[in-house]
């Protein structure tokens, strides 16, 4: 399974459609404070199924939709898509290219799609079953987690362990 691209539109500070390609093994993301780097990480966590706004540094899901700036109005929809090559047939599907999409509307409706076909969150979770890919996985590492692991806050070591075992 290889990541090929991430598309973000109306999600947090990404007002316009933005695409990032993952053709290489090590991709760096750089830029000044507050420019939107961690928002890219949040976009990936969200599209693979994160349900708690708190894990995305937000109070409620509506805070994920672009809320406007000096020159722009707020968006009505946050939309993120992640595309993979299903090499080694790791994903629970026979498609060779898989594109998962998640949308959230200001009226509170949300939608999931696999290869543009509407589906449920459960289908996305099944897709990633046993691959180590999950929104709270040991493979998405932020600085805040370091203190949690060292002091074992909320039994976090055990929780991470169970993701891998």
């Amino acid at each position: 399974m290889r990541l090929t691209s991430l598309e973000v539109k109306g999600f947090k500070s990404f007002a316009d459609k933005t695409v990032i390609h993952f053709n290489d093994n090590m991709t760096g993301v750089v830029g000044p404070n507050g420019c939107g780097k961690s928002n890219v990480v949040d976009a990936i966590r969200w599209v693979i199924g994160e349900q708690k706004a708190r894990m995305l540094r937000s109070g409620k899901m509506e805070d994920l939709i672009f809320n406007g700036s000096k020159g722009r109005n707020a968006s009505q929809l946050a939309e993120v898509s992640l595309t993979f090559e299903n090499t080694k047939n790791q994903l629970g599907t026979e498609f060779s290219t898989v594109r998962i999409t998640r949308m959230y509307f200001r009226n509170g409706e949300s939608e999931y799609r696999i290869n543009d076909v509407p589906c449920r969150l459960k289908d996305i979770n099944n897709l990633f079953m046993d691959t180590g890919v999950s929104s709270d996985s040991y493979a998405i590492i932020e600085l805040k987690m370091i203190e949690e692991i060292i002091s074992d806050r909320e039994n976090s070591r055990r929780h991470l362990f169970e993701q891998a075992a």
Partner: protein, 155 residues
């Protein structure tokens, strides 16, 4: 269920010792153990880390950088048990000195043969060790855009 867990735990422990000694020094003492081995499925997981010549009674006495390396060693030992297809690191290299950033980047380079890594960083040495760089800018205030970056003109 408890056999499966114990088997996984033993393998992670072995990984932890290997990774810890690569990030710290050969021969540094470290260990993972179950606080309550009688209750395998509920027990807390304890971590012991004793970098070169030190005797910290618990890992909370370690320095900021040592805590970061110890936590990373644990996360990577879980990764080695079940390598996820991609890993994301968000400014995890910030507390590390130049020497440890080097060791850290070398290890990621090794892992990147199996998995893709997405690395958010401000550290110039880390920027130099990745394959491709995307810059995120807010040329229009409040609106993020992505631009492919030529390494030489950074920040």
């Amino acid at each position: 269920a408890s056999e499966k867990f114990l088997d996984a735990f033993t393998r992670v422990k072995a990984n932890f010792i290997t990774v810890f000694q690569k990030l710290f020094n050969e021969g540094d003492q470290c260990d993972l153990y179950l606080e309550n081995p009688d209750d395998v499925l509920e027990s807390k997981i304890e971590v012991v880390a004793k970098p070169k010549g030190k005797k910290p009674s618990t890992i909370t006495q370690l320095s900021g950088g040592e805590k970061t390396l110890t936590a990373i060693a644990l996360l990577f030992s879980l990764y080695l048990l079940k390598p996820a297809p991609f890993c994301i690191l968000d400014e995890v290299d910030a507390p590390l000195d130049d020497n440890n950033v080097g060791k850290f980047n070398n290890m990621i380079r090794e892992f990147s043969n199996n998995s893709q890594f997405i690395i958010v960083t401000h550290n110039k040495a880390t920027m130099a060790s990745v394959d491709v760089i995307y810059g995120v800018t807010m040329a229009e205030p409040g609106v993020s855009r992505l631009v492919p970056v030529d390494f030489r003109s950074l920040e």
